[in-house]
Symmetry: C2
Subunit: 223 residues, 2 copies
């Protein structure tokens, strides 16, 4: 009995995906859970210790972009994640796959194609629509971004929080206050972050992280 979680804030999409899952044979018997928020998704996964597959919408209330995928991959590295997206930008596809997604399914995909995609993923393959793959030759910057995304995914949750605050230009002292930890600890985190991201200053870390479409950096809090 495989456990599959659909995480999408739109009930209609969830329903459509559930239908496709029902038509997918490769998983055998399945149990489908639906969540409409990221927090709920993590609750479910934490309770049950992961799942056999997660269908994750890129755009969810609270956290948009790749933040969710990043966190998901960090906390449940062994759980395959298929990204569902309304956008069909080839760069998004490349980025999602670089972050360890097992597939990328645009919402416009016809159902029989979705079923085929899920069967592929069930078999351990990686699915992405061909028309979004060939065109975007992995350029130099894309590869750099992908590598950086990989590094980003190696951050621990707390380190990600620190990086998020770094991204607003805050001082170590301010970060310490906001997270209610000692400044020493913040320094330890920052130091570790810099090593993991392979940069040598907080400013570089922020600049590089901002290049990815992480929601954490899309909406900077007021000063």
């Amino acid at each position: 009995m495989k456990k599959i979680v659909i995480a999408d804030d739109h009930p209609m999409i969830r329903g459509a995906l559930a239908l496709s899952l029902a038509a997918t044979t490769a998983f055998g018997k399945i149990e489908v859970l639906e969540t409409s928020t990221l927090d709920e998704l993590f609750e479910r996964l934490t309770e049950s210790g992961g799942a056999d597959l997660v269908l994750l919408d890129l755009r969810m209330p609270g956290v948009n972009g790749f933040e969710g995928l990043l966190t998901l991959r960090a906390r449940f590295p062994s759980t395959p994640v298929v990204v569902i997206s309304a956008l069909e930008d080839p760069r998004l596809v490349a980025e999602a796959l670089a972050l360890g997604a097992a597939g990328f399914i645009p919402k416009s995909t016809p159902r029989h194609e979705i079923v085929r995609a899920l069967n592929l993923v069930a078999a351990g393959e990686i699915y992405a629509p061909t028309h979004l793959m060939g065109l975007s030759m992995p350029s130099a910057t894309d590869r750099v971004d992908a590598e950086f995304a990989q590094r980003l995914s190696s951050l621990t949750p707390q380190q990600r929080r620190v990086l998020k605050l770094l991204g607003t230009g805050k001082l170590n002292k301010e970060i310490a206050y906001e997270l209610d930890i000692a400044e020493t600890t913040v320094k330890a985190h920052v130091s570790s972050i810099l090593h993991k991201l392979n940069v040598y200053s907080r400013t570089q870390a922020v600049v590089r992280a901002r290049r990815l479409h992480l929601s954490s950096f899309a909406d900077i809090a007021e000063v």
Copy 2:
């Protein structure tokens, strides 16, 4: 005899604008100069000490985005600038006006409307297409951005170069080497930049500057 400069890298656009200018009565007798690069524009303006009007394309070879407008406003504050753009994003309009543009004319504008716009500007009014104004209420962040853009425009050319390098995450030492000046001087510039931008760390300066769509920050140099 009013001196008007058209700065656009596309000859066809320059021609169309020149025609519209010829049909504009409010300026009286005019002399029209055309330039295809930003550098050439600045040469002309420096020679003649400004102009009575500049029609500036947002996208020019070398420097895209608002960089040119920013520099123009900084070096020739008394010269009115009308922004010409192929893009019609309301946010671009708001930003251009915040930076002191006297008008915003999309390239899709019909000629009679362009003439009307130029007449308005000649009369000291500010022109922007109504369909790009009403929708984007000046939100809180927009106002913050506009204020920050104002501050940005107060930077000197050299300070702008330093900020650009700051935006790539470089150390003072590296910036000094690239600009071939002493690290002390870089520090002096950075310090001045921070004051002018009203922030207290380089990282904040970078984060805030990147929120604007300045080309300097669009294409980060290789590491």
